[in-house]
């Protein structure tokens, strides 16, 4: 009897679960039918996710649980589930999904060509996400898919390589701007830092900054000197700072106005041998100062505080690590995180997705502030 009780005991309360009582304010764990590589906000309370298998995939718009938003009356709200509010079918994998602000449109790319598919997410009267158009990439054939950024409604910046980035008017298909660069570096990110100024982050570490209003040559900031052979780089910019992360776990923070100089360096504690280039994500917290989230190297999402980094490259430890996906995975294969996003307003709320189809919504506790 003692033996049976012990296994029950382990089943019910494993270490992570117990620990989570103190380390998370809120925690929600969901299982989608198919894993997603994208999580994109379509409003303050809804996100889009989509499958990435080689054949037909679903695109879903999910409404976050009401309990998460019921701040004063949280106790009285028992509603903890996602609601599938809209859905559609994509013919191929969805590797990049971007919401066009101010509209009910989302744009996707299948990671195989540089063309984009345009979708309209139905209103209250329909639950269908319908394909309503497409945008041609500049070059018809390309290895790897396009990155997409959407500044104002009905304009899209997209491209697979630095040589084929263009700004397309969504409604007319008219090309409003093209980025002229000497080399055709594959891109790992594309984002706007103001209404018209954007950053094109290349996999080799180069970063181009350009303004869509001018035809002036873009500013090129070459990648940081990397050691340890060829590495891949990912970039994110926010509030005047830029972070660059390499596949070996090096991270560099720079000021947007002076990308050539490193404000701080760090060697992050990631399992660099196991990264899948499609899955690595690095992002600044929109509502917290100097915090970044890193995922894609393993089954965890790590939060680092960059303000404690110095000018000498040293090993740093994460401020917080969300190991939920790895811990609760039912599958035998190693699970790894495929996407994460911060909530745009709630400082410590994130959503993360993993290769086993799990999606977590979590609000972590900053132990250093206790």
């Amino acid at each position: 009897m003692a033996e049976m009780e012990e296994t029950d005991f382990n089943d019910i309360l494993d270490d992570w679960f117990i620990e989570s009582l103190k380390t998370y304010k809120d925690l929600h764990v969901y299982q989608l039918e198919h894993p997603t590589q994208v999580i994109e906000w379509t409003s303050g309370r809804t996100v889009c996710v989509a499958g990435y298998s080689s054949s037909k995939n679903e695109i879903l718009e999910l409404h976050l649980p009401l309990k998460l938003f019921a701040d004063e009356n949280k106790g009285l709200c028992a509603e903890r589930d996602f609601k599938v509010v809209h859905g559609g079918f994509a013919e191929g994998p969805v590797c990049c999904l971007r919401h066009v602000p101010g509209t009910r449109c989302v744009v996707t790319n299948d990671g195989l060509s540089s063309d984009l598919q345009v979708w309209t997410v139905g209103g209250d009267d329909s639950d269908v996400i319908r394909r309503t158009g497409s945008v041609k990439g500049r070059r018809s054939v390309s290895e790897g898919g396009s990155r997409i950024a959407a500044p104002l409604s009905s304009q899209l910046l997209h491209g697979a390589r630095s040589s084929d980035v263009q700004l397309t008017q969504l409604t007319s298909g008219q090309i409003l701007y093209t980025l002229e660069t000497d080399s055709a570096d594959p891109l790992s990110s594309l984002q706007f830092v103001s209404d018209t100024v954007f950053l094109a982050g290349c996999c080799n570490g180069n970063v181009y900054i350009a303004d869509t209003r001018t035809s002036a040559a873009p500013q090129l900031s070459p990648g940081p000197a990397a050691w340890g052979g060829s590495v891949l780089w990912w970039t994110d910019a926010s509030a005047g700072r830029v972070i660059r992360l390499s596949s070996s776990g090096q991270a560099v923070v720079s000021d947007l106005r002076d990308l050539g100089e490193a404000v701080s360096w760090a060697q992050l504690d990631v399992q660099s041998h196991r990264c899948n280039p499609d899955d690595v994500r690095v992002s600044w917290a929109p509502a917290l100062d100097n915090c970044i989230a890193v995922s894609g190297f393993s089954g965890a999402v790590q939060i680092y505080k960059t303000s404690v980094w110095g000018t000498e490259r040293q090993d740093v430890q994460p401020l917080f690590e969300h190991r939920g996906h790895a811990v609760s995975s039912q599958s035998d294969d190693d699970v790894f995180v495929t996407a994460h996003v911060w909530h745009p307003e709630r400082p410590r709320t994130l959503l993360s997705a993993a290769s086993d189809g799990s999606v977590h919504v979590w609000d972590w506790v900053d132990q250093s502030e206790l």
Partner: protein
């Protein structure tokens, strides 16, 4: 065309209650008879006028089936059977039969005594209603009558919940009721075999929800309890005797052990007696773990959980108490609540739905001042937490169930069809089956393709086999000819001779004769010869004979030649054939009317 009709009763977009009518093979079945908990007037009852404008329902219904004891599935049953009138059988599983009357009585007491309602069923009506109940065992086929049979499957969700298969001949429908596909601490997961029903009926909300894991709900529960205890508060958990109480106790016990907590946990004795009693009765309905626990020890023998005495409620310091009844409408849980409500360090955790009129319902709606007996008011300062532990399937689960049962059609109730195009498309695409979504009060008609079993006579079978050719292949049907005889209720396929014999009829032969005029200057025998040669060259593959008696036979068709009396070169051909050779006969007469080709010798 054979068809099955399904009508969810109710109005508009109502999702508060379940009551579905099914017409199959000439039988009418009512699935569930729930009360809508959101209404206070007659709208809470299903609208039976769809079945009949006035009068009793007995002659219109062959049976009523109740899936489980939740009030939104059985709350209107005594009203239906005793106030509207129904005397036929009511089917439900054994645990549902044991628990239903208790919940119905509680519900009746609250509605009538607390809220002073009059148009409601009485205690005696509940008793009379339950007398009509025929209990079901899992996986046991029950013959309702000669043609209608039903079978219950395990649904999980709550103790005694079942999914039901209804079968008439080779047509069947499966109704899921509420179910879940992931096992939890005290119940297993729903299971059904590949029964391939014509229709699988389920709730549309399942398909549009993605459920938060059980673990996270439990985590929230433990977190809240722990936080209250840590600040010295008392936690009251009102529970119904069955289900959640046991589970939550196991959870707390394990947590207390792990965290080495000292605060006392109590449960009221009434709770343990009832719970033990029911678990003993229905041990086969719980999951493996519970069964093991029960066999080895008393269900409520815990290290950290002790029996409650009402004097303990006044003890200082933190504690947790499980007490009945679950909606705080009377008894011990209400007494404790009154004592603890005034202190904001305390907490009450409501683990389930509370009926209108109860204190539980009021505080869950945010009411902070309650009017008690004797006009006194109670200030509710303690923390109120509403937690839902009920086990329901979700989008992933419904697809799993469809995969298990392999229905020919899917039918989802309580959804707005206009808003469910994606869902419909998803099911249609993945399983290539139609998905119907009738609105409340609307009837969905599903055409079925039932197979009709027919006996075949041995002689006919032997004859067909003697014809040779490849052996019959299930994938390639082979046409055969016979006569179908319906005698009493059986169908038989026999040869036409046997049919005639059985029916005492004589076989008639039909023979056609036709005369064709032909210009031919030869003698009669020569003309016949020429005809023979001509036909032999045109009709290759047919048996053509020139007989010594002066006729030509094509298969069984006879051709004779004779000359006209006036003119020997005008020949008259006589063609004669039987009905079976009608086609060939017509062909020959048309051919010969064209005359003989000149090249013949």
């Amino acid at each position: 065309m054979p068809e099955i009709k399904v009508t969810p009763l109710g109005a508009g977009q109502d999702v508060g209650r379940s009551c579905i009518l099914v017409s199959i093979g000439g039988k009418n079945i009512m699935l569930d008879c729930g009360m809508h908990m959101g209404y206070n007037d007659d709208r809470r009852f299903p609208d039976f006028s769809y079945i009949t404008q006035n009068g009793r329902l007995t002659e219109f219904l062959d049976c009523v089936i109740i899936s489980h004891f939740h009030l939104d599935h059985c709350g209107a049953l005594p009203f239906m059977s005793e106030m509207v009138g129904y005397d036929g059988p009511i089917y439900m599983t054994h645990p549902t039969k044991a628990i239903c009357p208790i919940l119905l009585e509680d519900f009746r007491k609250i509605t009538v005594d607390k809220k002073g309602e009059t148009n409601f069923f009485t205690s005696q009506m509940i008793k009379d209603c339950m007398k009509k109940v025929v209990p079901l065992n899992l996986h046991q086929t029950v013959q309702v009558d000669d043609e209608l049979e039903i079978k219950a499957y395990y649904a999980g969700h709550v103790l005694g919940a079942a999914m039901v298969q209804i079968k008439v001949g080779s047509e069947s429908v499966v109704y899921t009721g509420d179910y879940n596909m992931t096992p939890d601490r005290h119940l297993g997961a729903a299971w059904i075999d590949k029964c391939r029903p014509d229709i699988l009926i389920s709730e549309s909300t399942y398909a549009t929800t993605i459920r938060d894991s059980k673990r996270c709900r439990e985590r929230d529960f433990l977190k809240k309890v722990h936080e209250s205890i840590e600040r010295g508060g008392k936690v009251l958990i009102p529970v119904f005797a069955l289900g959640r109480a046991q589970e939550l106790c196991i959870l707390l016990e394990t947590f207390w052990e792990r965290m080495n907590l000292k605060a006392p946990i109590y449960f009221s004795t009434g709770l343990t007696e009832k719970a033990n009693h029911y678990y003993k009765l229905f041990i086969t309905w719980t999951n493996q773990k519970i069964r093991k626990t029960f066999v080895q020890r008393n269900m409520f023998e815990f290290k950290h959980i002790k029996a409650f005495d009402r004097s303990y409620a006044d003890n200082p310091g933190p504690m947790v108490v499980f007490a009945t009844p679950g909606m705080l409408h009377a008894g011990q849980s209400l007494q404790i609540f009154k004592k603890w409500a005034g202190n904001e360090k305390n907490m009450v955790i409501m683990p389930g739905y509370c009926v209108q009129g109860t204190i539980g319902h009021k505080i869950l709606n945010g009411q902070r001042k309650l009017e008690m007996e004797g006009r006194s008011t109670l200030d509710v300062k303690l923390q109120v937490e509403y937690m839902s532990f009920s086990a329901h399937a979700d989008a992933k689960g419904i697809m799993q169930l469809i995969r298990m049962a392999e229905p020919r059609n899917m039918l989802l109730v309580h959804g707005e069809a206009v808003k469910m195009e994606f869902l419909k498309g998803k099911i249609e695409q993945e399983f290539s089956i139609d998905c119907h979504m009738p609105a409340n009060g609307e009837t969905a008609t599903v055409t079925t393709n039932p197979s009709v079993p027919v006996d075949i006579s041995l002689n006919l079978l032997k004859r067909e086999m003697a014809l040779g050719g490849p052996l019959p292949d299930p994938k390639k049907p082979r046409t055969m000819h016979g006569t179908l005889i319906m005698k009493e209720n059986s169908l038989k396929l026999v040869s036409s001779e046997q049919a005639l014999k059985e029916l005492g009829l004589n076989e008639h032969q039909l023979r056609f004769t036709c005369r064709v005029q032909l210009q031919d200057p030869h003698s009669d025998p020569d003309t016949l010869n020429r005809i023979y040669t001509h036909l032999k060259s045109v009709l290759k593959g047919y048996t053509i004979q020139h007989l010594p008696d002066g006729t030509v036979m094509v298969e069984s068709i006879v051709i004779k030649v004779s000359s006209s009396a006036e003119d020997t070169s005008t020949k008259v051909l006589l063609l004669s054939w039987s009905y079976q050779d009608e086609d060939l006969g017509s062909f020959l007469s048309t051919l010969l009317k064209k005359g003989l080709p000149s090249g013949l010798c």
